[in-house]
């Protein structure tokens, strides 16, 4: 990447959005005050989590869901600061043009790759795509494909799995057409019918059928039903709500939640083997007085009810571990409250008294 490209990436990064929902995560970008992404990134939900370099995790509203062109528009409740707004390219895309893809592959945020247009137009079904060779992976979906003038030439939409750099982006002219149609209707909660391609205002849909052509609209069904956890996941979320945690903001997947308490980060994971673990990485092992730290942790384990200290690799954890069949609201709430209250207190103590090091958080989770 040359200096000009690096500068271009630096300027556009504020317009790049990370989008997560319980089923997965993807990328998006700002065009004006709208966040553009793929329909498959929002998974048919009305609410998803959005974040940018300048916006902490916030609940965004999906106001347009278009499975026909695999597009979705999201509204942020707070205006997002971005000094160098992205624009849609009006130039023709030619084979061999240089391109840059920006996104969050596998959650590795703000990753940039470059390549060329391998074929300017490839037809898949009824839709044309740009084929390019910049490496994209799961998580890049919905991110922008830029030309060397930092203009958006496409929305990164899919790859051929197990291939070598066969990426496909929805061209910006298709995106522009969708934006124009959306703006012309001046309404939110719009769904495009996969069959007749009309934009349907959601309140006019009966029993999930397209009022124009009668096709069953799967997206309408999913939006109506929303995300409804059940069983142990529902119980965990009930406990978190009782502890005044915003569960939608905390969700990282269907079985994983993360939240902050003072300076401590707390993770809650429900594993396939039925074990529920809530823990907080408090600190890393210091280089001096290590045995005294071990003695302290083992000593505290004898007085801490339900919680325990442990070490994994070089990090000290405070955890609450329970088997799903033994989790109930009363004890679960009490134990998690204790964890929330104690994690920041112990973290401060370990850092000051034992000169432990601040924890480092793995980005490859």
């Amino acid at each position: 990447m040359n200096t000009a490209t690096q500068k271009m990436v630096e300027q556009t990064i504020e317009s790049i959005v990370q989008i997560t929902n319980p089923y997965g995560s993807g990328s998006g970008f700002l065009i004006g005050d709208l966040i553009v992404t793929n329909s498959h990134v929002v998974s048919g939900l009305k609410e998803v989590l959005i974040s940018t370099k300048t916006l902490p995790k916030t609940i965004g509203t999906v106001i347009y869901d278009d499975p026909a062109f695999d597009l979705a528009f999201i509204r942020s409740p707070i205006p997002i600061e971005h000094k160098n707004p992205l624009i849609l390219s009006s130039q023709s895309v030619l084979d061999g043009d240089s391109v840059i893809a920006i996104g969050h592959p596998y959650g590795l945020n703000y990753s940039t790759t470059e390549g060329i247009v391998s074929k300017a137009s490839r037809l898949q079904g009824e839709v044309e795509y740009i084929q390019f060779d910049a490496a994209i992976n799961p998580g890049n979906s919905g991110g922008p494909l830029l030309n060397d003038s930092a203009e958006v030439i496409g929305v990164n939409t899919f790859i051929i799995q197990n291939s070598n750099n066969l990426g496909f982006a929805l061209p910006s002219y298709t995106l522009k057409e969708a934006l124009d149609q959306f703006n012309a209707l001046n309404k939110e909660d719009l769904i495009r019918c996969v069959s007749c391609k009309n934009l349907i205002h959601e309140p006019t849909i009966q029993n999930d059928y397209c009022p124009k052509c009668g096709t069953k609209l799967e997206v309408a069904k999913r939006r109506r039903e929303g995300y409804k956890p059940s069983g142990v996941v529902a119980l965990i979320e009930k406990i978190l709500k009782a502890l005044e945690i915003n569960v939608t903001l905390a969700r990282r997947s269907q079985r994983s939640w993360r939240f902050e308490k003072e300076n401590s980060r707390l993770d809650l994971n429900y594993y396939d083997n039925g074990i529920v673990i809530a823990d907080s990485a408090l600190c890393r092992i210091p280089q001096e007085n290590i045995e005294a730290l071990y003695d302290f942790l083992l000593g505290e384990n004898s007085v801490l009810e339900r919680l325990q200290f442990s070490i994994n690799e070089n990090t000290v954890y405070l955890s609450y571990i329970v088997v799903d069949s033994s989790l109930n609201e009363e004890y679960g709430t009490a134990a998690l409250r204790k964890l929330f209250d104690n994690a920041p207190r112990y973290q401060a103590l370990l850092l000051s008294q034992f000169k432990a090091l601040e924890p480092k958080f793995d980005e490859f989770e």
């Binding site: 083992l298 442990s310 070490i311 000290v316 088997v323 033994s326 109930n328 004890y331």
Partner: protein, 442 residues
């Protein structure tokens, strides 16, 4: 027909096989009322009678015909509280149950003299364990669990109790093997082995090592690495199964055997060299050191999960294919080694149904007849005359199979299908029968 069967049983009662005396795991027979007591525990918990539920559950864990001089599990119940203690090898677990909770702990070691590596290890184990945790209280390192009885079931007691018991034993064994200056607690139940038996074990170990070395003369070349591996591994498995060492010796044997299978990057020749070196270490070990590696104790939980018979059948199949390959390549020496190895490997690695454990032990007994003769048993095979005690073998198979035939529809006494023409034919026919046993519930 039923009446006839009843008469037949009266005249010829079905004898039960003997409790296991060798190998890792419990040296007793499972409680014949285990299932009923487990169900009674469930019923008691459902009606809210928590202490009775625990009493039934703990009773279901009580073994029969233990060879250990005192009970492996004791229960003491009053109106308000139930107290229990159980032995698991090196560990003693003490617990108390009230209507609202179960608390159990094992005293592991004095904290003061523990090496920093052990303290680190305990904190790392705390990250891995599900139910129990290591802590330090008044200078004592403990492993403990606490369960709320609000939604208790027998399953919810079994797994935590098993976890604390197995880990307390394992960690004490580990400390004894790695840092013997540590002061381990609650060890008075460990019964010393009598010096005569130790001397006999020591002599047999040396004899087996010598025999193995002798048998490999002329085979130590690259063409024969597989055969050498089988010889060394079979020898280590035999030492572990028949002599049952503890502490460092058990740990080293486990590391050598598991290392052989886990270290994929290493050449087989190098792995064999490691095994050979360890055997040399065993050979040079003085009897004083050797004798510190042994004790007897009771076990409440088996360290193994019971394996599916299909898994064991697949292993036998794979091993018999190897036998066929060596036969085709005229490497006859290794064939009897593989036959010996198969039963020892299964006994070392899989949780087995008591009948299968008894049957595989029978195979070990045939191959190590001198050892069993020295232990006061009637040898099942005479290596000089190359003859078998066919009636005795047949009786032992009957004892291992018949008590369970009413429960497993495909379980058959196969004694009459064995080939006694020589040791190899015996093993081949024996494993084919074992492979075809069917442990499907009626």
């Amino acid at each position: 027909m039923k009446l006839f069967d009843t008469f037949k049983t009266w005249l010829n009662p079905i004898p039960m096989h003997r409790p296991p005396l060798y190998g890792r795991g419990i040296h007793a027979l499972p409680n014949p009322e285990e299932r009923e007591l487990f169900e009674r525990a469930s019923e008691a918990f459902i009606r809210g009678d928590i202490l009775s539920g625990y009493e039934y559950f703990l009773s279901s864990l009580m073994h029969r015909e233990s060879t250990f001089p005192f009970p492996h599990l004791s229960i003491e119940r009053s109106e308000e509280i139930l107290r229990f203690s159980l032995y698991q090898g090196y560990a003693l677990i003490k617990g108390s149950v009230t209507p609202t909770s179960l608390e159990a702990y094992a005293d592991i070691a004095l904290s003061e003299k523990l090496h920093v590596a052990i303290k680190r290890r305990f904190l790392e184990r705390d990250f891995q364990l599900t139910y129990c945790r290591f802590s330090e209280e008044k200078g004592v390192i403990k492993l403990s669990i606490r369960l709320d009885n609000a939604t208790i079931t027998p399953q919810k007691i079994f797994f935590p109790l098993r976890e604390i018991a197995l880990n307390a034993d394992f960690e004490k064994e580990f400390i004894a093997g790695e840092f013997d200056e540590s002061v381990l607690l609650d060890t008075t139940h460990l019964t010393p082995i009598n010096p005569g038996k130790i001397e006999s074990h020591y002599a047999f170990m040396h004899r087996w090592i010598q025999e193995t070395k002798q048998s490999l003369i002329g085979l130590l070349s690259n063409d024969n690495t597989g055969m050498v591996s089988f010889s060394y591994l079979a020898l280590l498995l035999q030492i572990d199964y028949l002599l049952l060492p503890h502490k460092k010796m058990a740990k080293n044997i486990s590391e050598k055997i598991n290392g052989y299978f886990l270290e994929d990057e290493k050449l087989t020749e190098d792995k064999n060299a490691d095994l050979e070196q360890y055997l040399a270490e065993l050979e040079s070990m003085g009897i004083e050191t050797f004798s510190t590696q042994f004790y007897d104790s009771a076990y409440t939980f088996s360290p193994f999960e019971q394996a599916m018979h299909d898994e064991i059948a697949a292993f036998i199949d794979e091993s018999l294919n190897k036998v066929r390959w060596y036969k085709n390549n005229r490497s006859n020496y290794v064939i009897s080694v593989i036959y010996r190895y198969i039963s020892l490997y299964i006994l070392y690695n899989y949780g087995l149904h008591p009948s299968l454990r008894a049957l595989l032990h029978l195979h070990v007994e045939v191959y190590a007849s001198d050892f069993f003769k020295a232990a006061g048993e009637t040898p099942l095979y005479d290596p000089l005359t190359r003859t078998f005690k066919e009636k005795l073998i047949s009786q032992r198979i009957r004892e291992a199979v018949e008590p369970y035939m009413s429960r497993y529809k495909g379980l058959q006494n196969f004694a009459e299908h064995l080939n006694y023409s020589d040791l190899d034919h015996f093993s081949q026919s024996f494993y084919l029968q074992i492979k075809n046993l069917d442990y499907t519930d009626v």
